[in-house]
Every structure is written in C-alpha cells, then in structure tokens.
Amino acid sequence: TKTQNFCRNEYNLTGLCNRSSCPLANSQYATVREEKGRCYLYMKAIERAAFPRRLWERVLLSKNYEKALEEIDENLIYWPRFIRHKCKQRFTKITQYLIRIRKLTLKRQRKLVPLRRKIERRENRREVRAAPTPLTPKSPLPALAYGKKSPFSFQYGDIYNFPIHAFDKALQQQEAESESESDAEREEDEDEDDEDKREFVEAEDSELSDFEDMDKLETSSEEEEEEEAEKKASHSKSKGKTPLKGPARRKRPYIEIEYEEETEPSTKTKAA
C-alpha cells in the first residue's frame, strides 16, 4: 500500500511491517493463529532463540470465547500491553470469521462451474450445424431468404403434412352444419388475418412454392431434393411415436362469438 507495508511473515500479529510488530525483530513476541477451526496462542521467548525448532510455543485456547480471553491473559501475564491487546483483538477477529464460515456452509453454496471455452465453441458449432438452414434455390428475393435462416424451415413441410387431413375433416363437418352467413364471416376473418400477415406471408409463399416446385425445377440440385424428401419422411415417421398425435383430432368447434373475438385484435392498428 502507499502508506504501509504488509508483513509476509505468518507469525505476525497485526499484519503490518513495523519495528514493533515484526516477529523477527522482537525477541519476545506472541500471536494468535487458527488451524482447522481451533485457535492457538503462539509465544516466542528469548531463551529459546538458539533453538529455532522450539522457538514458538503453542497453547491451545478453549472454545469458549471468554475463557479463551482469560487464557490469553494468563499466558501473557507480565507481557507488554501492546502485545496482549493485539493478541486479543486478533483472536476476536478470528472467532468472528470462523462463525461466519460455519453459517455460510449451512446456507446454499453457489458452486461455480467453469465454462470451458473449447467445449462451448464446439457445442455452439454443433448446434448451428444441427439446425438445417433452408437451401432456397434462386428465390426472387435472395436477401430476404438469406436473412431468414430460420432453422425451422423444415417445419413448413411438417405443418402442411399433418393438418390437411384434419382440416379436410373439419371442413366437411362444418360445411355440413353451417350456412352461408357463417362462411361469409369466416372469409372476412381470413381476409383480415391475411392483411395483417401479408408482408411475411408473401415471402413465405414463395418459399413454400419453391419447395413445392422444386421437383419440377431443373436448376435445383439433386441433393436438396433428397434431403427434403428425407426430412419429410423422417418427420412423418417420428410423428407416429409422439403421444399427443395419436388420439383423434377433434373438429374445430365453431361458434360465432369466438370468431368475432379473434377478429377484434387484428382490426386494431397493425403492429407487425
């Protein structure tokens, strides 16, 4: 630090490097240190200066705070006031932090798991590779197509595979039931929805139609077709296993009121 030095000696009492608190400079010295949760009083006496191994005498302090303070006093009787005072201060500090350790271990510990950079990078690349990008051939808006690298483009194939049949069923049932006025309402509804979503829908339309026409287009590469067909095949196969698709899909319950509710938000100002 700018004003003071820290002492690196482990037996130092205050931690600062002064003449009065250096264990090497003073022949009579004492410290309190703790080991594995127990506190010891270390004393250095001038008679043992010739025997470095026996230099520091160790006294175990009791676990009881007040008793330990008394023990320090007993052992350091007739010692200079400064050392006694500092020893007690240090002992107090040590017990306080020991208490805090014990309290913290009872609470939940936050374990920091380090991220390994290489592994993170590898997993991110794998994720990007796992998400198939739409191989859009020569679409009229190439910029849009590239920007829209949604990994869920194969989803289009998915979606218009399954609901068609249910939609057909529902359509038939509804046509059997409903009258012309309901049809008119539904058209209105769809028109408004279309309006809202018209921007994106067009581009998607082109993509969809691209996919549909891909078989006819000569310029499309063979690989893309294969992949598309494969994906569709694998999707339809895997769908059979999902539990939710098994039970029969119910027809759309058609109630006038509900349709009106749906149109309300779309008639508000267009947000998208």
């Binding site: 609470k107 590779r129 869920f152 339309d205 539990p243 939710l244 899909r249």
Partner: protein, 324 residues
C-alpha cells in the same frame, strides 16, 4: 523445371485456357515457392476442378434422361442423421414394455387427464434484463404458468411449498452474465428433473417478421424426433407442460424438435390459406436446449439419483452417435 509450370503471370496477357495446360504427374501446386505464382496456379486448378465437376454432372444428367424410366435410382447422399450409430434404446412404436412403462410412470396421471399442469417459472438469484423478459414471454407461451422471483430462496425449500400449492412443474432458468443459459425442468410431485443447457435465446422483439403476441389459447404441441427411451421420457416431460387439450381456434403450435441431441423450441401461429398451403408466423421466444442430466426425483444435486448424465469423454467421442 520452368517449362513444366506453364505460362507465368506477369507476362501481361492472360494465360490460355486451362485445358491446354498439361501438368506432369509429379507436379503439385503446393510446391511452388513463390506465393503469387502459387496462388495463381491454385486458382487455375480450382477452376479446372469446377469445370470438370460441372461436366460430370451434365453428363450424368444426360444419361439419366436418356435412360428415362430405366435409370437407376438416385443415390441418397449421406447425412449425419443417416449415418447415425444405431442406438439400442430406440423405441419401437409397438413395444409393449415401453407402453407399459409409460402407462405407469410419473406422467401417467397427466396423460390420463387427471391433472392439469400448473407451472412455476423462476430464475436463479438476481435475474438481469434479458432473463426477466424471457421469463415473462415464456409465461405467455405456456398456459397456466406463473413467474415468481427467486430472492435467494433455496430450491429444496421451494419444492415442498410448490407441491403444497398444487404446482405440477417447476422451471428454473439459470442465468450467466445477464443472459439465460440453463434450464432446470422438474416435474413436481416427485417427478424427474432434467437439466438443460440453453442457448440461442431470442426474445420476441428479436424475431424477424413476428406476429402479435400469443393469445391465451392452449397451443398444440409437436414433439419431433425423440426416438430413444431417454428422448421419449424427455418428450413426455415437455408434453406435460401444456394442457392436454389444445384449442385449435388459437391456431398456435409449440414445437420441440430434436435434432442431433439439440432440442429446438419454436412457437408459431398457422393459418390455412387454401387446402394445401399454410402460412406460418413465428411468435414467441425461441431457444435451443441440450440435455445435460436427468434425475429420478426432484431437484437434488447431491443425493439425487441420476438417470442420465452427459459425460463428455464417453459420449462425445463419435460424431454420429446421439442420445436423444
């Protein structure tokens, strides 16, 4: 040696077309010491390769057309999904043991429509901006879900309280440096707990061409490509988050698509423009998950019984081996 190299750049004129240049068999582009020349030679070589490839393709296509019906079927290109190492735990749709297991596991009451899912979404301590917003959006996507702040509560203490208040699932979104990066999904009445690594989280405003917010209708759930036993149980966990009866009026669909062990979550709204054409609109957040571990009971990191842990050394050795 100089003759073998053909015309050299720096002569001013463009060298003649590559077909006329004949390389002696021992020649290799990388042997030229001069960088400029080497680069030039390499480009020329590349062009030549491309031309050859195109010619080959054309020839093949002509042959195909010539043969017409008798043409041999096109070769299927190899993809990693094709070459996937066969996993012995792949579920066969007719497997009785699996069916029996599923009828008696922790999700049975959900699939028998006895319980309605009620979800608690929370985060790790002190969530920051993106995570908070992500939680809110997730709550709009999943019906019947509630977001609560963590405020330093221990998960082990939360869980009995949740069970007492009839929650069926708990989602904890873990955060790192202000972005969500992990997800713990725990089925509450003593159900399995799955820990995922979450990545590529896109909030609603970051999704291009999004629609309006998701409405309160119950979305439909699509689970794709969960083939193995492990994948099956995870798929059921996801399915159990949503109420069992989707409202088709809402035309919303939530998809969990598994590909190469990454689960992509997307939320769309669809509309039928005609019989065969569907338009879809992406709404709602999107994220990808990778399963890290699956525990038998509720969340307990020390004493829990792990059903599956991702062990990097053993499981990431082959590029074609996937576990979900």
């Amino acid at each position: 040696a100089g003759d073998g190299r053909g015309p050299v750049p720096g002569d001013g004129t463009d060298p003649p077309a590559p077909e006329r240049v004949l390389f002696p068999p021992t020649f290799s582009v990388s042997e030229i010491k001069n960088k400029q020349r080497r680069h030039f030679m390499f480009l020329r070589w590349k062009q030549q390769q491309r031309k050859e490839k195109l010619a080959l393709k054309k020839k093949r296509r002509k042959e195909r057309e010539a043969l017409g019906d008798k043409a041999p079927p096109k070769a299927i290109p190899k993809t990693i999904e094709n070459q996937r190492v066969y996993d012995e735990t792949t579920v066969d749709p007719n497997d009785e043991e699996v069916a029996f297991d599923e009828a008696t596991d922790e999700f049975a009451p959900y699939f028998n429509r006895q319980t309605v899912p009620k979800i608690l979404i929370t985060t790790s301590d002190r969530p920051r901006g993106r995570t908070v917003r992500f939680c809110e959006q997730l709550a709009t996507v999943i019906p019947n879900s509630h977001v609560y702040y963590r405020r330093g509560l221990a998960l082990k203490r939360i869980i009995p309280q949740c069970i007492a208040r009839d929650f069926t699932d708990l989602i904890v979104i873990n955060e790192d440096r202000k972005i969500p990066n992990g997800l713990v999904l725990s089925h509450l009445p003593d159900g399995p707990t799955a820990h995922f690594r979450m990545s590529s989280v896109r909030l609603r405003k970051e999704i291009k061409r999004k629609g309006k917010e998701p409405t309160e209708h119950v979305p439909e759930v699509i689970l794709n490509n969960f083939t193995t036993r492990l994948g099956h149980s995870i798929g059921r966990m996801f399915a159990a988050l949503f109420p069992h009866d989707p409202q088709f009026i809402g035309r919303q669909v939530a998809t969990f698509h598994n590909q190469r062990d990454y689960i992509f979550f997307r939320f769309h709204r669809y509309i039928f423009k005609s019989e065969k054409k569907v338009g879809i609109q992406e709404l709602g957040p999107r994220f990808t998950l990778k399963l890290r571990s699956l525990q038998k009971g509720t969340f307990d990191s020390k004493f829990g019984e792990y059903e599956w842990i991702h062990k990097r050394r053993e499981m990431d050795t082959s590029r074609r081996k996937f576990h979900l």
